[in-house]
Each structure stands twice: as C-alpha cells, then as structure tokens.
C-alpha cells in the first residue's frame, strides 16, 4: 500500500517536473506568438485579436529584405560548406597523408575560438585584400565557421563505414565517380544532411560574425532585430517570428513522421520474417 503511494508520488513529481521543463522551453515562444496577434503595441497585456501586424509586416520592406538576406546567405553558405566539408571528411577518412593530425587540430580552431575574434580576423582579411563587404563577404565568413561542423558530423557517420563496400562496387564495374555518387554519398547521406542542417541553423541565427562582415545594405534578420531592440521591437517582428516558428515546426514534424514511418516499415518486415 505504502509502496503504491510512493510510486504514485514518484510518477506525479516526474510529471510536474517535465511539465515545468516544457513550460520553461515553450512559454517564451508562446508569448511571441500570442503578442503577434495583440491589438496593443505594448506587449504587457493582451487586449484583443488582430492580424494587422501581419499586414504591416508584409509591407515592411526593410524587415523582409533582411529576412531574404538571411535566407540567401544561409542557403548559399550551407551549400558551399556542405560540399567542401563532405569532400574533406571523405578525403581525411580515406587517405593517410603527412600533416593529417595538424589539419585535424586546425579544424577545431574555428569551433573553439571566440566568435568575436574570428569576426575581427575575417574583417581584417577582407579589408586587407579589398573585398567589398556585403552578401559575398558574409557568405565566405559563414562558410568558414560552417565547414568544421559539416566535417565533424560527416566524419562521425563515416567512422563505421566499411571500405570494402566501395571495393565491392569497383569490383562490379563502377568507376571512382560512380562509387562516390552511387554508393558512398547515399550511405553517408544522413550525416551530410544533419551536417547541412546544423550549418544552416548556425548561419541563420549568427550575429557576431555577420556583424563584422556585413555591408551597409546587406543586413540580416538577426542584425535587423538587434537594431530594432534599441528603439523597441514592434509586433510585426513577432509576426515574422511566428511564421518562422511555424515553418520550423512543420519541417520538424515532417522529418519526424518520415523517420517514424521508416521505423514502422522496418518493424513490420522484421515481424513478417519472424512469422515465416
């Protein structure tokens, strides 16, 4: 009897605890969504429902442009960093060469170095070689800090990779390019995708490095918000944020559903095998 009550108490506290964690995580997000529909400009009280901020956002060219810049920088830099990072990881996995350990170590530097130092360093390089600051310079800067993350995730995926799979493909008539595109890359694709997602996320909300390497007319969404914070954030920023949150939510949902479905499929076929 006492045991039962103890177990119930345990269950109860663990539920309360996880509820608190979720509250802590999601309350700020809920607030942003809520106030994007608030008639009052000041986000203290909810005074009534409106879609005005969404309309205002749709006509706020500066805000939309900054968001477009963010997507462009994140998209292009992720693409470049993913290609370079993946090839680097494959090369480092496949070949032994002199100075490999040094290259290995050097990869960690951009990760552990304070971002502000990296930002200043990049800025001084750009001014040294007279690269005009703008989207281009920002893309180069983002690629710099994205590459190590892509290399790390792809390499983690490669660590369990059996090289005789590539040899088997060559044995069966595939040339080196077909082995890479048809065998190696599809097998390590999950690693490449998660590396790309990580790189994209890092780029989207980067402030410090973007701050140093951006030009006058190429501000990004995070930089724009930083700028607005000084004069007070207006609810149209909440509106755009809400849209971003929903978009993220949908993407996560879709990916989770596809993973779930794949697992179900695997389970089902296992079950069938057992019945046989």
């Amino acid at each position: 009897m006492r045991k039962k009550r103890k177990a119930a108490a345990k269950k109860y506290t663990s539920r309360v605890f996880s509820a608190l964690v979720y509250l802590f995580l999601y309350a700020p997000i809920a607030v942003v969504i809520l106030f994007s529909f608030n008639t009052s400009r000041r986000n203290v009280l909810f005074e009534g429902f409106t879609l005005d901020w969404y309309k205002q956002m749709a006509t706020n060219h500066a805000l939309l442009e900054s968001f477009g810049n963010t997507l462009a920088v994140a998209g292009v830099s992720t693409l470049i960093a993913t290609v370079i990072g993946t090839l680097t990881a494959i090369a480092m996995f496949r070949y032994k060469f002199r100075g490999k350990t040094i290259i290995d170590l050097l990869l960690y530097i951009p990760v552990v170095i304070p971002e502000i130092v990296l930002g200043i360093a990049l800025l001084s390089v750009f001014s040294l070689v007279h690269v005009p600051l703008g989207l281009g310079s920002m893309i180069v800067a983002h690629v710099t800090f994205q590459i190590p993350f892509v290399v790390f995730t792809v390499r983690a995926r490669l660590s369990g990779f059996d090289r005789s799979i590539e040899e088997a493909a060559m044995d069966l008539g595939a040339n080196r390019v077909r082995v890479l595109t048809g065998i190696t890359i599809p097998i390590i694709a999950p690693g490449i995708v998660s590396g790309a997602v990580l790189a994209f996320t890092l780029s989207i909300d980067d402030i410090i490095i973007s701050f140093f390497t951006t030009g006058a007319r190429s501000t990004t969404f995070p930089l724009k918000i930083m700028e607005l914070v000084r004069s007070g954030v207006s609810p149209d920023v909440y509106a755009l944020s809400t849209i971003i949150i929903l978009a993220t939510f949908v993407v996560v949902l879709i990916s989770q559903i596809s993973v779930y479905k794949a697992n179900q499929r695997a389970l089902k076929s296992k079950y069938k095998e057992k019945q046989k």
């Binding site: 005789s164 799979i165 060559m170 069966l172 595939a174 695997a266």
Partner: protein, 377 residues
Amino acid sequence: MAKAIVEIKNVNKFYGDNHVVKDLDMEIYEGEFLSILGPSGCGKTTTLRMIAGFEQQTDGVITVEGERVENKEPFERNVNTVFQSYALFPHMTVHDNVAYGLKMKKVKKAEIAGRVEDALSMVRLEGFGKRYPAQLSGGQRQRVAIARAIINNPRVLLLDEPLGALDMKLRKQMQIELKNLQKQLGITFVYVTHDQEEALTMSDRIAVMSGGVLEQIGTPAEIYEKPTTKFVADFIGETNLFEAVEAHVRDDGTVCLNAEAGELTGADPRFSAAELVYLSVRPEKTLASESPVTGFSLRGTVRENIYIGTVVKSTVVLQNGQEIRVSSIAGAPVPAAGSARYIHWNPGDAVIIHSKSNTILDLMDSLDLGAYVAGGA
C-alpha cells in the same frame, strides 16, 4: 584440367618495409577449387587482393587468362570477389545489390530482371528481392554476396573467408552449398581460409602459406600425407615431429636416423649423410608395442588415454620428455596408463622433410644426379 587461368610469377609485396608476400609462384587451374590456407597475417588476403586488383604487387607478374593485369582496374579483370564482411550495399534492396554489376555493364533492364532471379534462385533466395540487407540473417547476406558476384559470370571467383562470421552448423551447410555451386557453375574458386578442416574437405588443391611464403601446394591428400616442409607437417592435422640427423641407409633401403629421443627409422630415397631433417609421423600411423622393435629406440610411458568416439588418443611421454600422440581404433587393446611402451612405425608411413638443403637436392634430382648421391653414400 591443368590449364592455368591465373598465374602468379615471382610476386613480392611490401607495405613500407614490411615484406608481406615473398617470391610467390603459383598457378591456379581452370575450374578448380583452390584454397589458400595459413595462419593469421601470413598474406592470404593480400594475395587475393592482388589478384582482384585492389592491391598492386611490388614486383612480379600476375596474369589472368594469359593477360597481364597490373594496369587493369578491378572491374577490367574477369574476376569477382566475395568479401568477408559481405560488403553489401545497405541502401539498396537485395535485387538492386545483385543487379549492380549488370547495371554497371549497361545490360538491358528486362534481361537484368531475369538474370537476378536466376542468381537468387541459385543461392536459394527466391522472393527475397525486396528486402534490405539489414533485414536478412548472416547466412542470407552471405548468399546475396555470392549471388552478386556470380551474376557477372566471372572466370574466377575470389572468396576471402566467406564463412568466417557464421556459426558452426551454418558453416558446414554453406560449405556443401558452395562446393556444389562451384561444381555446377564450373568456375574457378580461390578460397581463403584459416580453417584447415574446411580447406581439406572442400578443395581440389590447397596452397599452404606461412609468413608470406608459399610452403606447399597440392591436393589435400598430398598436403596431409606428403608434407614437404616442417610447417606444413605441423600445421595440417596432428603429427609427431622429430628433429633428426640422417645416419645411414640400411640394407632394406630404409634410413636410420638419430634424434634426441633415440634412434628411428624412415624411408626416403634422397639421402645425404649427417643432414639435418625432420621426421613427421601421424598419430594414426604411430604404434606403441610392449617390446622393442628393430630400428627404433623410443621408450616411453603411457600418460593417459582419451576416448573420442571411434578412436582412442593415447599420450606417451618419451624419456627425453617429448610427448608422442598415438591414436588407435576404439575396441583395440589399449595400454594402461603408467605402463611402458616402445614407439615405432612402419618406415614407409613416416615423412622425412629435408630442412634446408631441399632446393639443392631438388636441383640434383632434376640433373639426374640423385641416384649418384644416394649410391655414393
């Protein structure tokens, strides 16, 4: 039968300073089942990989179907490999795995479908085409790997310890299936293993390697009954091995030998006095009698008798401490543990291995001087 399909001539392989394959000379005949047998690290895989084209020999020549292959990519050689780890493509179905080779050769889709079906039925995997490798058992994966290789109609199939990861029972079953498949297809199998029983039961010929050197190549019976090196005698099956010096030829043509354990007798036409030799005699040919036998002075004490189904394995400890194994058919009288026995054998049942001057004697044989040397002793 004896037409060579793969020839390996004087091949050496170095990894840095590590001399892994040494002066390898070997002919692999068309349609035979050849096993490469040897302890771990002796260069079996390296040899196979040089034939397949994954590894380049440091020097020497390898030919497949009479053509030198050093400048040919793996897929340009009419040879396919079955890997120990199976190396199936995990992101493809069984069907796509098996079809891969044909797809690379741009065979028409309709033809591919039929041939994949044939290959799968040959390894008894009909209906498994839609599965992924992760949904198969170890034995089934092994069969897919074999189907994926044989669908290309190679002249030679290279198999690197293909059954190494399977449990004993499945292993035995797959051994029979592989052997039948080889007979049915009529292609040459080069089969790497470190399991001597497997090699002895499956092979037409066995190449025994040790430390990068080809010790002996021959039929299972030759390898077992007429080992030419100490390593082979010791490595294949159980044996009683004596290091001895040849003393003289007796009137009946047998050779008297002096070992540390005592005097022994063997039969060997090649003979040079005072040469260091090894004498190997299998436990089933070794006899233990109650009274001394002429030509032998090996006295020992029976330590134990172990019954293993149809045979009894006795251990006799000689006076110098050497342990001799004697196996006899169960039911025959067995000496009691602790009793004294005299070890001997029929001289013709022992094999004399010339330790170092092998090559010199071979040379003399080929010059027809052998008779002169033996007669002059």
